[in-house]
């Protein structure tokens, strides 16, 4: 049987305000800060203390909601989500349930079949939990440590409709959202630090069927690659079950990145009854239209609009623009290059990014932000190329060295003496040397073996150590050969 996947995504993005959602504690980098140094009675769940909503967090949330074209609720309600866990100090999480901040939005993604609109069901605000570290000592009982630095940090939950059908679409949507929150300045997008986290709801159904299959929820998807792998794995697992006449069980799964498998975390029977009810400590959150208008007016250029502008402004193909728009950093890098040196044709810059840099990322596992060179460095290299001081193939190998070592083009070119020879006398000298040293080939050429011209070219370039201006070599060689032919004709 042929199946298709039906996938929805739940995205949790921290709102990186200065202070937490309901108290004045600073938001710190949970991976660096000393445990429990950014905590107070409110975010550690002491008795008698009360939450107060961080206005800035609401503003950040509204930015995202508006950028995703959501309908913002005039009045939304905070709710308590009740469950016991040591990383949840109050025994409930303040979230939103029946009346979320915003609903009915959308995000447009690119697929091989063209644009696709992914509907967003809801965007709501909540607080993050603390972090547990489980310790298994060599001696004695295992134990767990609780770090509440992250407890109470503002979180935005963005829930899509199950509009995605392939792992690639999921990644396009996830990275699109990630770009969005970064462009809006509300989240660093740093997935390794867990500031943006993804959960996928996956079910499958026979192609053509309208009915939804039983879905599973996959948690802890920390990388796009992992997410794609997990969904692909889950698709195959479910397909095998259905093909074997077995049912898919509704459950919550974890993803084991190392083993490359999903595993059951919690079955349907063990599903929590969260006993949501309106948070009595917080009045309804009222968002006036004037505030919405103000925030909307201040939204920056959003990733998709930027992609279209880049395409038009720099006269690129849609495909080129899409490649550049694969993430915000790439677009930034591209436009930085052009700003640094507007004399380099934008398409050249684009092609070097899409061709050379992307190839490097694929082979090295690095990214536009982790790589060792900056926009300035690529511009310098392209400048060498543009002014004919090095040729295309030299430039490529110089770039490889730059990417590997982080040294700049100028250093590499001068240290290795790679600067292109465009001195006509020198080139004539090299050509003459080749012709003199290879009389047999010259004779053969004169006897009509004209394709030996390429062979001579290669010899000249070899003699020049690859540095000779190939265009100049070509034309000069042509002239020299033509002269030989003419003098032969005269002799005859």
């Amino acid at each position: 049987m042929q199946y298709e996947a039906v996938i929805g995504l739940e995205v949790h993005a921290e709102l990186q305000t200065n202070s937490k959602m309901f108290c004045g504690c600073p938001v710190v980098d949970a991976t660096i800060a000393e445990p429990n140094t950014a905590v107070c009675p409110v975010c550690s769940g002491m008795p008698g203390v009360l939450p107060v909503v961080n206005q800035k967090a609401v503003e950040y949330a509204l930015r995202v909601a508006l950028a995703l074209n959501c309908e913002v609720a005039h009045t939304s309600i905070f709710a308590r989500k009740n469950y016991f866990y040591p990383d949840l100090p109050k025994g409930y999480q303040i979230s939103q349930y029946e009346q979320p901040l915003a609903e009915n939005g959308e995000l447009i993604i690119d697929t091989p079949q063209g644009e696709k609109t992914v509907r967003i069901r809801r965007v709501h605000m909540e607080e993050d939990t603390g972090k547990l570290t489980h310790v298994i000592p060599e001696q004695g009982d295992p134990y767990s440590l609780v770090d509440l630095n992250r407890s109470g940090v503002s979180l935005l939950e963005i829930v899509s409709e199950p509009d995605l059908s392939t792992p690639e679409e999921v990644t396009a949507y996830a990275s699109g959202l990630r770009d969005m929150v970064r462009t809006l300045g509300v989240n660093s997008g740093d997935m390794e630090k867990g500031v943006i986290r993804f959960e996928a709801n996956v079910s499958i159904r026979p192609i053509g069927s309208k009915e939804l299959g039983t879905r599973v929820e996959i948690k802890n998807l920390n990388t796009f690659r992992g997410m794609e792998r997990a969904i692909r794995y889950e698709f195959q697992r479910q397909a095998a079950l259905l093909d074997g006449g077995l049912p898919v069980i509704q459950e919550t799964l974890g993803w084991d990145e190392t083993a490359g498998v999903t595993y059951s975390q919690r079955g349907k029977e063990e599903a929590h009854d969260y006993r949501y009810f309106p948070e009595p400590d917080l009045p309804p959150l009222v968002v006036e239209k004037a505030w919405i208008d103000e925030i909307r007016a201040q939204l920056p250029e959003l990733p998709r609009a930027r992609m279209l502008r880049i395409q038009q402004q720099y006269n690129l193909t849609l495909e080129e623009a899409r490649m550049l728009a694969s993430d915000v950093d790439t677009m930034n890098f591209f436009e930085d290059c052009i700003q640094i040196d507007p004399s380099i044709p934008p398409r050249t810059v684009a092609n070097w990014i899409i061709g050379q840099l992307f190839a490097w990322f694929n082979s090295s596992g690095e990214s536009i932000t982790s790589m060792k060179i900056q926009a300035q460095d690529l511009v310098e290299l392209l400048h060498f190329l543009q002014s004919n001081r090095i040729n295309q193939s030299t430039a490529k190998s110089v770039l490889d060295t730059m990417l590997q070592t982080g040294r700049n083009a100028n250093t590499i070119v001068s240290e290795q003496g790679l600067e292109q020879v465009s001195d006509l006398n020198m080139i004539v000298k090299l050509i003459n040397q080749v012709l003199e040293e290879n009389p047999d080939q010259v004779q053969a050429y004169l006897n009509g073996k004209e394709n030996l011209e390429n062979w001579f070219f290669g010899q000249v370039m070899r003699l020049a150590g690859g540095k000779a201006n190939p265009q100049l070599v070509k034309t000069t060689l042509k002239q020299a050969l033509t002269q030989l032919q003419e003098s032969k004709t005269e002799k005859n």
């Binding site: 008698g48 009360l50 040591p86 109050k90 006993r275």
Partner: protein, 488 residues
């Protein structure tokens, strides 16, 4: 100055201001009184005599070094605080084993405002565990005795505060009122107690029971004294998002007892069968007294009154089930020595909480559970709206509503211990105010045949505490009930 502890707040403040007595003297006289009567009454869970004397000394120092007009309003005045309000560095038990050694690193806004106004803190008073009860018998530490008859309860849950004021161990005490926990013990102990409008007084630092119902309240001997304290603690607090930004009027209580033009409603639903005869008789007499002062008495109806009790026990317990989830033995409080996480959770709570608290957590958890939410919690919220509307409609016609505080006077210790429902009925006349969020004031209007105080309640529109205080002040200017003190 042997009877310093009989002074009214205003008299005490006057003497302090004139330099006739020092704060140390006043404080010491209360501490002495506590030493004498506390063994019989057991009003305090924690006494803070050293803190009190230190605060009194610095109050006296401040007074010595500054002109009168620069001094805070309550400088040197001793108070008692119910042990559900946090005071930094002093343990706060909530009457529970689970918080036996909990020392909060913060101070409740109400307490802080009084500290800023210069008060001296005598100690933390007894309460039903987590303010759940109507007798203080649910305290994990001790049962407080009614100063009028020690075989009887002082009411609850703020029974410790009520008994402390009644027995002259403090001129003022703070309490909390979720369903009547200030007004009912005030009534049982023959003193005056105010539950302000919800949102009028900050809840920050008040250890929550039912968050949408909890109010910090005040006990004193008279409306006049309450007004002095109320002015200090009322008003918006940025730390409590449910506190309202509505100006607090300076409350001027003068000697005018003419209530002409005032309309007082008497709801028929509050004079029901089962109400103790001499409670009804005394309350009716007090209503007549208001009439004799010029007030117009109007019979009114609050038709949804009968639903208040079930609605209250659904909403309060639902909120409590979440509010008390934080006591898990992980960060503070009692922690059972168990190696597995879930065993630790279970046994910390199982051993830390008393039976009434567990009963309410279970009730509330059930009311919020999947499949039951709509029928219980959801329905209760709808009916709560109807009860609120009853009051709004009534207050279109009257300035205040007069009712008994409780159907009975103080019952005997142990009388309701095995009958939670009978205990819940003690709050039947006080809970509607909490559901509606309106203010309520309880004050003594006589004694029953056993010599136990009878209290009356006046309820007012939102943020109209001033009206209630003025009416009761007029009553107290023209009667003596509030001046009666138990023989101890």
């Amino acid at each position: 100055m042997s009877n310093l502890s009989d002074l009214s707040v205003r008299q005490a403040l006057k003497l302090l201001q004139n330099g006739d007595i020092s704060s140390v003297e006043v404080t010491q006289s209360y501490l002495d009184r506590i030493q004498t009567v506390e063994p019989q009454i057991k009003a305090f869970i924690t006494l803070t005599p050293e803190l009190a004397i230190a605060q009194a000394k610095s109050a006296d120092q401040l007074r010595k070094n500054n002109p009168l007009e620069d001094l805070p309003a309550l400088l040197g005045l001793p108070i008692a605080v119910k042990d559900v309000l946090a005071l930094q560095n002093v343990r706060c038990t909530c009457g529970s084993r689970i918080l036996e050694n909990f020392i909060p690193p913060y101070t409740a806004t109400t307490v802080q405002r009084l500290l800023d106004a210069g008060v001296v803190i005598l100690g933390k008073t007894n309460t039903d565990e987590f303010a759940m009860g109507s007798s203080t018998e649910n305290s994990a530490y001790q049962t407080t005795h009614n100063p009028w008859n020690q075989a009887h309860v002082p009411g609850g849950s703020s029974g410790g505060s009520a008994a402390a004021v009644s027995a002259g161990m403090a001129p003022i005490a703070l309490g909390s009122d979720t369903g009547g926990s200030v007004r009912q013990p005030a009534s049982f102990c023959g003193i005056t107690g105010l539950k302000p409008t919800y949102g009028r007084v900050s809840r920050f630092g008040l250890i929550a029971y039912g968050s949408s119902l909890d109010s910090v309240g005040i006990f004193s001997r008279s409306a006049k004294d309450l007004a002095v304290i109320f002015e200090q603690i009322a008003g918006r607090d940025p730390k409590d998002a449910t506190s309202m930004d509505i100006p607090v009027p300076g409350i001027h209580l003068n000697s005018n007892t003419d209530l002409t033009g005032v309309r007082i409603g008497v709801p028929k639903e509050y004079f029901i069968t089962g109400i103790q005869t001499d409670v009804e008789k005394n309350v009716r007499t007090a209503i007549q007294h208001f009439e004799s002062l010029g007030a117009q008495i109007v019979e009114i109806s609050l038709p949804h009154t009968e639903y208040a009790l079930p609605v209250y026990y659904l909403i309060a317990t639902a909120e409590a089930s979440a509010n008390l989830a934080r006591f898990d033995g992980v960060r503070y409080g009692y922690s059972a020595e168990e190696t597995s996480l879930w065993e630790r959770f279970k046994h910390s709570r199982g051993r830390g909480f008393g039976s009434e608290v567990k009963r309410r957590i279970m009730l509330g958890t059930y009311a919020l559970s999947a499949g039951y939410y709509d029928a219980y919690y959801g329905q209760a919220q709808k009916v709560r709206t109807l009860i609120k509307r009853d009051f709004e409609q009534a207050f279109e016609h009257v300035d205040a509503i007069a009712t008994p505080v409780a159907p009975t006077t103080a019952f005997k210790i142990g009388e309701h211990t095995n009958d939670p429902l009978a205990m819940y009925l003690e709050d039947i006349f006080t809970l509607p105010t909490n559901l509606a969020g309106v203010p309520g004031l309880a004050f003594p209007v006589g004694f029953d045949h056993q010599g136990l105080p009878v209290g009356m309640q006046l309820m007012g529109p939102h943020f109209k505490e001033e009206t209630l205080l003025k009416l009761v002040h007029a009553y107290q200017l023209s009667t003596q009930w509030h001046k009666s003190m138990p023989d101890l």
